[in-house]
């Protein structure tokens, strides 16, 4: 049935299954970047940052605008992508930190409902900005990377250039983040603050600076995710933040909120569930499946998959 030049599989079913898994994996990696922003912020200030998904959405529009301008100037897709990957995280990081400074910082000692409601408010504001930035209709993100299957055609498998891009960008970022949190002094300060802010402060850690840094890093990760999302999915709209943010947050909860490897694992599971459910059950029910899993996890194992094992909460 198939040639022998590529990988040979027994049946078309298996090929289909593997293709679905590849899609799930890349989607999962994408969600992981967003999930990390949620999980780090939650680990430190115990806030479900509802605005994070919309920050990601604004990042997409920023990348789109910037990409359009750079493309017109240089005409080189590679330079455009490189610049987008540099500037968008910076934009999102500072926007996220700015929101923390102006909105959440004053509410650190307030009841937990206050920052949460504020976050919903910020999310509304971001959505309105996105509505004016991109209009009420979905817009196309320029396909700067030629979509090409990297595997031999006759293997029946699909692993495209954009899939590779997702892996190539996200994997180093996540490894870098893990090393950063494990071995730098700021990373150590983050873990200390997550465990006990008061004790951390008594040890001479500037907690507010640590929190600001957390928002910066979380925002930067969302910014990277925006560019990748635009290049991979190619359609963006002002309402995309909510849904993607929710998937990412589900991933963070699934992995055990506050736990970095947990968020990545959770995101991969979510990505897999989403694409398997789309393929084998019904695409229209995929979202519901994700939330059924979320509820099941919360009910039976509220600490998430990796939550109980590790005590560190960064």
């Amino acid at each position: 049935m198939t040639g022998l030049t590529g990988l040979v599989f027994a049946s078309a079913d298996t090929q289909f299954f593997i293709n679905i898994c590849i899609t799930g994996l890349t989607t999962g990696f994408l969600y992981a970047l967003i999930a990390l922003g949620y999980t780090m912020v939650y680990g430190i200030v115990e806030l479900i940052n509802f605005a994070h998904g919309d920050l990601f959405m604004l990042g997409c529009f920023f990348a789109l605008t910037l990409g359009g301008a750079v493309m017109a100037l240089t005409g080189s897709p590679m330079a455009t992508i490189a610049l987008m990957l540099l500037a968008t995280p910076v934009f999102c990081a500072f926007l996220n930190m700015l929101v923390d400074l102006t909105v959440y910082k004053a509410l650190r000692t307030a009841p937990k409902l206050a920052p949460l409601v504020s976050a919903i408010g910020v999310s509304f504001v971001f959505m309105n900005i996105g509505l004016f930035w991109g209009g009420s209709q979905d817009v196309n993100f320029p396909g700067l990377i030629e979509e090409r299957n990297l595997l031999a055609e006759d293997s029946g498998l699909q692993f495209t250039t954009t899939d590779l891009l997702v892996i190539l960008v996200t994997a180093p970022v996540m490894i870098g983040l893990t090393i950063f949190v494990k071995s730098t002094s700021l990373g150590k300060a983050m873990r200390a603050t997550a465990q006990n802010p008061v004790a951390a402060q008594l040890m001479g850690i500037n907690v507010n600076r640590v929190i600001a840094a957390t928002f910066l890093i979380g925002g930067a990760l969302a910014g990277i995710a925006s560019v990748i999302y635009g290049l991979k999915i190619k359609t963006i709209g002002y309402q995309m933040g909510f849904q993607n943010g929710l998937y990412a947050f589900t991933a963070a909860v699934l992995g055990g909120i506050g736990n970095i490897p947990g968020a990545v694992l959770g995101a991969i599971v979510i990505g897999m569930v989403y694409s398997l459910a789309s393929a084998y059950i019904d695409a229209r029910w995929a979202t519901a499946m994700v939330f059924v899993i979320l509820i099941t996890i919360l009910v039976f194992r509220p600490t998430g998959l990796l939550g109980a094992r590790t005590r560190e909460k960064v």
Binding site: E46, L107, A114, I120
Partner: protein, 360 residues
């Protein structure tokens, strides 16, 4: 004491105004022609949102649990109504039985949702309610064979006016057509809103209401006093869901169809929550003020202002940023943020320490 009397007087004055507004001949027409927009039709929706907000207030305001999926129960009420009334189903019940069944159905689902969530802490509980809301919307949209999906279930017939009411209504100058005279739905929904309002006022002062407040203030202390926290939460969730279902039933009847399932999404839950936060969590009057401000902006002010701009050629190219209705997310968002920062108990905060209601 005097501030309490003042509050009561102000409340009665507003109530009198709301009741007499449609009866003053020509007033609504005059306002409509001034604004260039039909507004009479929007009032019933605002009242229904009021019921929905009061329902959410039972969970968020009284027991202090964050509920982000109230719109789902609103939707369940609306679709139950749809199934029980439209022509393609064999039921075709009358208005009141439908209202009761819709309320029960939503309450039942609310109770079922509550059972697994009882153990969860604050944020996780909020997430489960959110997730439940999204699953409900997805289900309503996808189960096309039952719910009609995006095609909605229609037409839902208006309630039959009992013969005894016909005469007094006609003597007030109301015509007996639900489609032509907005005042029938106006009074129907206003009546239910007042009913719910009074019911909740009595409930607040009952044993159950006080138990909820005790639970909100300190769960540990409350359970030490012998209160069954799980049962109380279950009751709050069930009651909120039931009231929301009732609001949904009224909404579907008013709209004459179930409206698209996507209307009952997270956005609506959030909007209702903003009304609570804005007006004052736990305070019924405050909640209604919040609804009036938020829904008033959405349904009355923004469209009227846009129409005004349009008529005066101040927005010739139909630019989005020159339309008030395009800014509502920004305005609600900023309102929430500023509210939390500077007046976190809302415009009309609930009075503390007077939960028996009689005050000192």
């Amino acid at each position: 004491m005097s501030s309490g009397v003042l509050r009561k007087l102000a409340g009665l004055l507003v109530l009198a105004l709301v009741i007499t507004y449609p009866l003053i001949p020509g007033l609504n027409d005059k306002i409509e022609s001034m604004l260039g927009k039909k507004i009479g039709d929007s009032f019933p929706t605002i009242f229904i949102y009021g019921i929905l907000a009061l329902a959410l207030n039972v969970v968020v305001g009284y027991t202090g649990l964050l509920h982000l999926g109230i719109a789902a129960f609103f939707g369940i009420g609306a679709f139950t109504t749809g199934i029980l009334t439209v022509g393609q189903y064999p039921f075709q019940f009358g208005f009141l039985p439908v209202l009761v069944v819709s309320t029960m159905a939503a309450a039942l689902l609310g109770g079922i949702l509550c059972v697994p969530t009882l153990r969860l802490r604050g944020d996780y509980l909020a997430l489960v309610t959110l997730g439940f809301g999204l699953i409900t919307v997805t289900a309503l949209r996808n189960l096309q064979e039952i719910t009609g999906g995006m095609q909605t279930l229609n037409p839902i017939p208006p309630p039959k006016i009992p013969e005894i009411l016909r005469c007094p209504l006609e003597s007030l100058g109301l015509t007996m057509s639900w489609t032509e005279d907005y005042r029938l739905f106006y009074y129907l929904t206003l009546g239910y809103l007042l009913l719910v309002f009074v019911f909740l006022r009595n409930l607040e002062h009952s044993r159950l209401g006080r138990a909820w407040v005790a639970l909100r203030e300190d769960e540990l202390a409350a359970t030490c006093m012998g209160l069954n926290a799980a049962r109380l939460k279950l009751l709050a969730f069930t009651l909120a869901a039931g009231l929301a279902g009732m609001a949904g039933s009224l909404y579907a009847t008013k709209m004459t169809n179930t409206t698209e399932p996507t209307r009952f999404d997270f956005q609506l839950s959030c909007t209702i929550l903003s009304c609570l936060i804005l007006g004052g969590l736990g305070n019924r009057t405050g909640v209604l003020l919040g609804v009036f401000l938020v829904a008033g902006y959405d349904f009355l002010f923004a469209p009227a202002a846009d129409a005004w701009l349009q008529r005066n050629d101040m927005n010739p190219n139909d630019k989005g940023y020159l339309k008030f209705s395009m800014w509502n997310l920004m305005i609600f968002g900023l309102a929430l943020v500023l509210m939390m920062r500077f007046r976190s108990s809302g415009l009309l905060p609930k009075r503390r320490g007077t939960t028996t209601g009689k005050g000192a």
